[in-house]
């Protein structure tokens, strides 16, 4: 050993200590406050919820119980990430390419889902699985501000589970046609669509701002007395669909 690099115990003690602390922090069963070892533990924090069983719906879709085929004999367990030859009607959009089937589905017991630590989660309680990443949504779900409540506003609460609304392989809710608009009252005409006017600076796209305001201001003036009706299709055509990203309401 050279004089400059004397590895005495005193010298390496801080390094050892740091290493041990680091190891402790990254251990499997950690003492980090808020982190759960088992997703089921989150249920202790909130009111118990009744759910609707998913079994009948999954059976109707033709697959459940999955162990009919996935019993380890008929179909071998193959954890290699690959493109499957069966189940090809499922396109896994969730995760943007970072996930594959066994990320959520249990390798050993295909009749259950699996947590990140491979604990089995029933199809009736997918919120335990989804909540591992979508923890804010999960909290809202338990407290009633996310998801569909059924039944009663008092006493025992019944709730629809995540997969009743979200397709777990492609969870984002897609736009759909609304129920028809109300009929205009007899004797009235719908008011001219003054809502086309965009008065806030951030609503005016790029340099065409003035052009747009000018155009709308003109129309607004002409239609003040109900000369013309702005149809919904005209409104749709004026939207700058290409440049605009989906609004925040589209999140899953």
């Amino acid at each position: 050993m050279t004089a400059a690099a004397k590895l005495t115990l005193r010298a390496i003690l801080p390094i050892l200590a740091a290493g041990l602390v680091g190891a402790a922090l990254f251990a499997q069963d950690s003492e980090v406050p808020g982190q759960l070892d088992d997703p089921r533990e989150v249920l202790e924090r909130y009111r118990a919820l009744q759910v609707r069983e998913r079994g009948p719906v999954l059976e109707e879709n033709g697959y459940y119980p999955c162990s009919d085929c996935h019993d380890g004999v008929e179909v071998e367990i193959n954890p290699t990430i690959r493109e499957l030859m069966v189940h090809d009607e499922i396109t896994l959009v969730h995760g943007g390419g970072r996930f594959w089937c066994l990320t959520c589905h249990s390798e050993e017991d295909r009749d259950h889902l699996a947590s990140l630590k491979q604990q089995p989660i029933s199809f009736d309680e997918p919120f335990l699985l989804c909540g591992q990443c979508h923890f804010q949504r999960q909290r809202d779900f338990f407290l009633g501000t996310h998801g569909k409540r059924l039944g009663s506003w008092q006493g025992e609460r019944t709730v629809a589970v995540c997969t009743e609304c979200h397709n777990s392989h492609d969870p984002q809710i897609k736009p759909r046609k609304p129920y028809r608009p109300p009929q205009v009252r007899s004797g009235l005409q719908p008011a001219p669509s003054t809502h086309h006017e965009r008065t806030m600076p951030w609503q005016i796209d790029g340099d065409d701002g003035d052009e747009e305001t000018g155009e709308h201001a003109e129309e607004h003036g002409a239609e003040e007395h109900g000369a013309e009706e702005h149809g919904a299709e005209e409104h749709g055509a004026e939207e700058h669909g290409a440049g605009e990203a989906s609004d925040g309401g589209q999140d899953h």
Binding site: R47, D140, L143, G144, T145, H146, G147, K148, R149, L150, G151, S152, W153, Q154, G155, A160, C165, I173, P175, R176, K177, P178, Y179, R180, P181, P182, Q183, V184, R185, S186, P190, S193, T194, H195, E197, R198, T199, M200, W202, Q203, A232, E233, H235, G236, E239, G241, E244, S246, D247, G248, G249, Q250, D251
Partner: protein
């Protein structure tokens, strides 16, 4: 010049319970009406009044419908003399409900059930909508109409979904006739508006006959049989929540919801105002309102504001909530929040 009075002893009756005065002689009394036989005209008129009252009471109390289900004369008279809901005794309310059931059976051929479930003690209802989740599907509008027996011809809808431009809260610039191919449209958000059951309701203050009032559970209700159809309440409401039956309501027998409440969704007549009642026929029995059940996105939150564990309280305590037209001091019990 004093008229000949009866020679029967005259007792001037005092207030209820007191024996009155017996010391006054005939001469001290003002001239009374001339007699008809042994009965004074005053007594005769009183007797007639009592007879009429008795007749009306007999008519109103438990009359049986005619064989051919047409309303009987008894029922028609009772209808005419029906008192304000808040002034009726429990027995009168019972009789009224039965009579209304007969009326609706005769009118629509459907066995309609009319109840008068009272408010649940310790409950004040509140409602919230998550505008991040509302996509403008209008499923709430459809479910409300199916539940509440509104007139189909004049298409009364208690819920109005406003399509608003993002970045503005100008309700006057909204569009509720939107009908694009898909919703939500980019750059828009959706505000469903229905009666907010204000704590300081301008409609209640404006009603000249007291046909609308706020119940103990916070719901503003209307006695449709007391409403005179002046529509002052419609003018007073800043949220366009009140709707008027300009025509005789058209309601097909197969579209009727037979479970009704006197103050809620029982079939109405022409010339009365109606509005959302937070589905009083459902919520007073612990069920969720129809709009809540119908919403596919789960944007609606309903519950008891007095229960600290309720979902609506959680929304008010943790989310960014706002109310419409806050500056008008109507104190609505309907909030909007975002994720």
């Amino acid at each position: 010049m004093a008229a000949k009075t009866t020679d029967m002893p005259v007792v001037i009756k005092g207030a209820a319970g007191s024996p009155g005065r017996t010391d006054l002689t005939d001469q001290a009394l003002p001239p009374s009406l001339p007699t008809v036989g042994r009965v004074s005209r005053r007594d005769a008129l009183k007797g007639l009044g009592t007879l009429a009252a008795a007749g009306v009471a007999a008519v109103g109390a438990g009359a049986v419908a005619g064989d051919d289900d047409r309303p009987t004369l008894k029922d028609t008279l009772a209808d005419f003399f029906q008192d304000h809901y808040q002034k009726m005794s429990a027995a009168e309310v019972e009789a009224t409900l039965k009579r209304l059931e007969r009326k609706y059976k005769a009118r629509y051929g459907v066995d309609v059930e009319v109840e008068a479930t009272p408010p649940i003690p310790g409950v004040v209802f509140g409602y919230a909508i998550n505008i991040s989740k509302c996509k403008g599907y209008r499923e709430c509008v459809r479910a409300c109409v199916e539940e509440n027996n509104q007139s189909r011809d004049s298409e009364i809808q208690y819920i109005r979904v406003l399509e608003m431009d993002k970045g503005s809260m100008d309700l006057e610039a909204s569009d509720h006739y939107y009908d694009p191919e898909t919703v939500p449209q980019p750059g828009k958000f959706y505000l469903p508006v229905q009666c907010h059951q204000c704590e300081n309701p301008p409609c209640v203050a404006s009603c000249p006959v007291g046909a609308t009032w706020q119940e103990a559970d916070g719901i503003v209700v209307i006695d449709y049989d007391w409403c005179i159809g002046c529509r002052y309440c419609m003018t007073a409401c800043p949220y366009w929540a009140r709707h008027f039956n300009w025509n005789k309501p058209t309601l097909a027998a197969e579209e009727i919801n037979p479970k009704t409440h006197y103050l809620g969704n029982r079939p109405r007549s022409v010339g009365v105002t109606e509005k959302c009642t937070f589905c009083v026929q459902r919520t007073r029995k612990g069920r969720l309102p129809a709009c809540h059940e119908a919403c596919p996105t789960g944007a609606r939150v309903f519950g008891n504001l007095l229960d600290p564990e309720s979902e609506i309280r959680h929304v008010l305590e943790t989310k960014t909530v706002f109310r419409l037209k806050e500056e008008l001091n109507t104190d609505p019990k309907f909030w909007y929040y975002t994720d």
